[in-house]
């Protein structure tokens, strides 16, 4: 019995190592490639670099407009995430704490919106953005990330149900205004949901390609996602520089992942339950 268990465990490790190899192999090959000279890249594709040279990173950073791309992405990220958290908590408070006419209708509308695949409606959204004069401005991605993506509302609505209403009531006994209750009781207690929202939004906005691609073609408005595409085109031959570029782009989310692992796993699980 014990020996059999040992064999099973051994097989599990074999399978897990194969899986890990498949995950790591592409990452390994760009990692070692990024440090190689041009000549070594094409002759010794898979070995460790003979000299660890950071030159490719310098070229990638400069020629790939990465400072610009990261700056733009960061700006859009911060404004959109702050907005998402405010809008999410405020609507969850209004919808989760008060019973009023039309409340169920509004909640139903949000749930329906979550089902519509937004990429299919871009053909029309494009003309809305143009009509609002937001085309080729930071405003375009920001309003789209704020308004079109409603997952944060659903996460907050689920969460606020578990905050006991007695807390609101006792604050009202002491004469606190509803806004004070929102600001100093509800908002802080929604903290764990906020952590989830921030992480899910960070990953999806940082990775998003089609919104900046469709709405901000201007060179000065490149985000990380659109900068890389234009960088790859004319320089397609220089795979070692491209490798360095890829690694630089991977760094922000990997860093976040390593520090916030626990929140990410719980965020992904709760994010899936909504659909």
């Amino acid at each position: 019995m014990k020996a059999r268990q040992g064999f099973f465990d051994f097989m599990k490790y074999v399978v897990l190592l194969i899986g890990s190899f498949v995950v790591f192999f592409p990452l390994y090959s760009v990692f070692v490639g990024a440090f190689k000279s041009r000549q070594e890249f094409y002759t010794n594709r898979l070995s460790l670099p003979s000299v660890w040279d950071f030159g490719n990173f310098a070229i990638a950073w400069e020629k790939g407009d990465l400072a610009l791309g990261l700056g733009n992405t960061l700006f859009i990220l911060v404004v959109s995430i702050v907005g998402n958290v405010l809008i999410g908590t405020m609507s969850a408070y209004a919808l989760g704490r008060f019973d009023f006419k039309g409340r169920n209708f509004i909640i139903g509308a949000y749930l329906a919106a979550a089902v519509i695949p937004l990429i299919t409606t871009q053909v029309v959204t494009y003309s809305v953005i143009k009509a609002l004069g937001l085309y080729n401005t930071y405003g375009a991605p920001i309003v789209l990330y704020l308004g079109a993506d409603v997952i944060q509302l659903i996460i907050y609505l689920q969460f606020i149900r578990n905050i006991p209403y007695e807390l609101d009531e006792s604050a009202m006994m002491e004469g606190a205004s509803l806004f004070t209750i929102f600001r100093s009781i509800i908002f802080p207690l929604l903290g764990p949901a906020t952590a989830t929202v921030v992480i899910l939004k960070f990953i999806s906005i940082y990775n998003d390609y089609y919104v900046p691609y469709l709405y901000m073609p201007d060179r000065g408005l490149r985000t990380v996602a659109t900068a890389i595409q234009s960088f790859v085109g004319p320089n397609a031959a220089r795979m070692e520089v491209i490798s360095a570029y890829i690694l630089l782009i991977f760094i922000p989310t990997i860093a976040m992942f390593l520090f916030m692992q626990r929140f990410i796993f719980s965020g992904v699980t709760s994010g899936a339950v909504k659909s």
């Binding site: 053909v123 205004s177 509803l178």
Partner: protein, 293 residues
Amino acid sequence: MNLSYKTQRIIVITAFLALPLVLLLLFTFYPSVMLVWYSFTDWDGFGFDMNFVGFKNYREIFSNPEYFRILRNNLFYFIGGLVQTALALFFAVILNSKLKGRNVFRVILFLPYILHQVAIAIMFQTVYHTSYGSLNKLLEMLGLGAWKQQWLGNPAINDWALAFVSLWMYMGYNMVIFIGALQSIPEDLYEAARIDGANAWQSFWRITLPGIKNVVELMLILTLSGALQAFTVPYIMTLGANDTSTFLMKTLDVAFKFNQFGLASALAVVLLMMVAAVVLIQRLMLKEGGTRA
């Protein structure tokens, strides 16, 4: 603050909901409704010059086999997605057992999901490259040089190669969701089964699978609707060359390259209907099961 709670209530509800509702209407519902309207017109995407053309756009779509041939390319992503769901469940079951270092493996297998998708697509270009790609080099090193391929150039395999990239990206995500679902199955069920002499395989079929049935269904639906919307990976990696275009790529091309917004809207409506049908089937299936997802 001297306002009565009744007044405050009205102010809070109005003030807190006004902006989100305007955004929701403007960027989700208005485009969806207009999409349907435009699909009956010959709008070119500029100005207000458009004519009502009835079902002309739809007739064009359903009489041109080209569009449905392209839909076949989405099928590769669906099959890839099925494999991905099966693998995710397999790894989730393994990592849910008591195993040293399981957290490390969970982190490793999940890692691709958080990486930048465009960068992943470009990374796989360097992996699949025919002469300098690391995959062909690896095959050479293993003495499997005969297996070398033009991964992105050969129309017989390039769709599989692209679908694999998508699998690589999302498998860990599905796995983590499965692990969450598996942890909600009470441990004593397994205990009882063991006492009754059930083996691991029997417990899997009789306890595990029924316990996570809803999540499995949810994953399959997400896989199908994701496959219908496949876009980023093939767009970045091949731009649709060598017959790798997907339905959504075609739709966006018709709109933004050929300025046939009316026709593109009709294509988008067809896509929307397909996704809606999938979601509807899911809802019905879940209702039948009688439990929540």
